[in-house]
């Protein structure tokens, strides 16, 4: 690894990276879209940007390696140079020094116009041209790279479908006839239209209301699941970064990389005060968003069904060793919590006994959702259900707490190992430099 990434601060591969690291542009045979280019690697090497008349560089010697198909988030305070760094990837801002490589190809000196046609670009205000219809906006890049008319038309429909807009309804509309969220979707469709391996997004959801933003984030996750592009995404919202990123780059002033790691690692082991300050309070709570119910132990719980004879229910209550039973309805969906004595008080009537189940979770729910449900349901546990709402097990407070502790411990361990690897890598580099053999020339 060190040979391929001299000077790189982030050459190691965290265990939790989600996507394959195929370095070249290959078509995805399993992809649902007929023509889809999957991601390409992006390597930034010693990138520096100096503006004339200012003593300090705006971006100072940044090296970064982004794997193919990975979603990497640049996050940091305003004015930290994250947008500058992003714009240097498609050379909207020309670096003063350093190299940029996409899919292994050095693009630092190629025609920037050609480069940008291969790199999708979506920005905050959607950047749609108001004098063109939705279809014309989306068709821009395919037209410029010379696709035949029929293919462009089909592609426009496909892209609109992909971002969840009905082509027949939206094709002929002008941007001002769309809501903010819809404009943003079209912006993403335009960025993806010519099927670029890399997508750069500059605070694309910054200007929409929180509910729409949440929705757009979910859509982006779904899209990325289908497309496997390499996405570089700039935001100042750390929660957005956690939600979307495979890895997160926390940038401090002058684009210095404070930490480049998985969301888990940054949450559990921020390298310094700057990062922990940025992560903000409640890192452990945020960590709960990253784990799903299926990752923790779902335990079995004594259950009875509404059709069971009362005697069976009494027997179960006596044998169960717990104070409570979960009563399921005829379709095996959680219905009521039955406590000892409930039946007596209700004079044997199941319809009146017990407390209704307020909330259930599926295995796809986050631990945060599960905790929420456990806290609101006075049973101290939450029922886990399958696809059709049928009972599958329960998660209780204890399991939840144990799992979280285990997770945090594992994260810490991983982070320490990671730290160790980085130090070794640095030592190796220093050694190489001192020997005057800095690896293969770039």
């Amino acid at each position: 690894m060190p040979e391929s990434a001299p000077e790189s601060v982030s050459a190691s591969v965290p265990a939790s990276a989600t996507s394959t690291a195929t370095a070249t542009v290959t078509s995805d045979p399993a992809g649902p879209t007929p023509s889809s280019t999957t991601g390409a690697t992006i390597e930034l090497e010693n990138l520096t940007k100096r503006y004339p008349g200012s003593p300090l560089p705006a971006v100072d010697n940044v090296s970064l390696e982004i794997k193919a198909g990975e979603t990497v988030i640049f996050v940091g305070p305003s004015g930290g140079g994250k947008t500058t760094l992003l714009k240097m990837i498609n050379r909207l801002i020309e670096p003063t020094s350093g190299r940029i490589r996409i899919a292994g190809e050095d693009v630092t000196d190629m025609d920037p116009v050609k480069l940008r046609r291969k790199v999708g670009y979506a920005i905050q205000s959607s950047g749609l041209f108001p004098h063109m219809t939705v279809a014309q906006n989306i068709a821009l890049v395919p037209k410029m790279v010379g696709w035949p008319k029929g293919k462009i038309k089909a592609r426009v429909e496909e892209m609109l479908d992909l971002v969840g807009l009905d082509p027949a309804e939206f094709r002929g509309r002008y941007p001002r006839q769309l809501s903010g969220g819809q404009q943003q979707r079209v912006g993403v469709a335009r960025a993806l239209a010519a099927d670029p391996p890399v997508l750069l997004m500059d605070e694309p959801f910054g200007a929409v209301d929180p509910i729409t933003r949440d929705h757009l984030q979910d859509e982006l996750i779904r899209l990325q699941h289908e497309l496997h592009k390499t996405i570089v995404f700039v935001t100042h919202d750390f929660d957005e970064a956690i939600k979307l990123g495979d890895r997160i780059v926390v940038l401090r002033e002058r684009s210095h990389i404070a930490q480049f790691d998985t969301p888990e690692a940054i949450l559990t082991n921020p390298v310094d005060d700057f990062v922990s300050g940025f992560v903000g309070a409640g890192a452990a709570l945020k960590r709960l968003n990253l784990t799903r119910v299926r990752d923790v132990e779902v335990t079995d719980y004594p259950t009875v069904q509404v059709d069971d004879p009362l005697q069976t229910i009494f027997d179960k209550l006596r044998d169960a060793g717990t104070n409570e039973l979960l009563l399921l309805d005829r379709r095996r969906r959680p219905y009521k919590w039955l406590r000892r004595g409930d039946l007596m008080r209700a004079k044997g009537s199941l319809a009146r006994a017990g407390t209704l189940v307020h909330d259930t979770v599926t295995r796809d729910a986050t631990l945060r959702d599960a905790l929420e449900a456990v806290l609101t349901d006075n049973a101290g546990r939450v029922a886990v259900t399958g696809r059709r709402g049928e009972y599958e097990g329960v998660v209780d407070m204890e399991t939840l707490m144990n799992s979280v502790h285990e997770l945090l411990d594992a994260d810490r361990l991983e982070a320490v190992e990671h730290q160790h690897e980085l130090e070794e890598l640095r030592a190796q580099q220093t050694h190489q430099e001192q020997e005057g053999d800095g690896g293969p020339a770039a």
Binding site: K114, K118, S125, G127, F129, P130, L140, M144, Y174
Partner: protein, 215 residues
């Protein structure tokens, strides 16, 4: 002879003058638009060049039209040349100024988007900046045309074409029985032409400004 008799007697002459007037203004407007937009495109990026262009064209406008035509006669002679040159020069200011304002007024984030998706400099100008700046440019053209309608009347002083001839003839023969009719016919003709042109511009605006940015 009352005014209506005068019109019906001379309608052929009046129509010919009106046609020449309209044609002169139209042709000068085409030339002024091309030059004006070109100046705008060349200068809007630079603060001082844009200001210089606006300043120059506005100082041209302050030269009295009679003086301008008078000064041109010794250089280019009588007739059509001084008319065309002076009308074109006068027509520049509103177009240049509106072109610069329009091009500078394009939302920077759209320029950023255009660059970001890989549009070349020329494509950016022709596909994004000029279409978005077109409504103010068209307004400039309208203002210019109204102005030139009046100024074109002065061209008759240099034996130029147009309805100005009627007015000048009338003024020269003040006291004669047709003097007032001639001045009136020339003036009204110019007003009618101006209104017709304006209507045409409204139509052009409808046809050329995309629905997405129409006010």
């Amino acid at each position: 002879m009352n005014f209506w008799d005068y019109i019906s007697n001379r309608h052929q002459q009046l129509l010919a003058d009106a046609y020449q007037h309209a044609s002169a203004v139209f042709q000068c407007m085409v030339v002024a638009t091309l030059i004006g937009v070109l100046i705008g495109v060349l200068t809007y990026r630079s603060e001082w060049a844009g200001n210089l262009a606006t300043l120059t064209t506005s100082s041209i406008l302050t030269i009295p039209s009679l003086a301008m035509i008078g000064l041109l006669i010794p250089i280019v002679g009588l007739g059509v040349p001084p008319t065309v040159i002076s009308l074109t020069l006068y027509g520049l200011l509103p177009i240049v100024r509106n072109a610069i304002v329009g091009l500078r007024g394009v939302d920077p984030s759209l320029i950023d988007a255009a660059r970001g998706i890989g549009m070349s400099r020329a494509a950016r100008l022709t596909k994004v900046e000029l279409p978005l700046a077109w409504p103010p440019i068209l307004t400039g053209i309208r203002v210019s045309t109204q102005m030139l309608m009046g100024i074109a009347a002065i061209a008759a002083y240099a034996s130029g074409p147009g309805l100005g001839n009627e007015i000048f003839r009338g003024i020269a023969s003040l006291g004669s029985k047709n003097a007032l009719n001639q001045v009136l016919a020339g003036t009204l003709g110019i007003i009618i032409l101006a209104l017709l042109f304006d209507a045409a511009y409204v139509l052009i605006g409808r046809l050329t400004i995309p629905r997405g940015i129409r006010a």
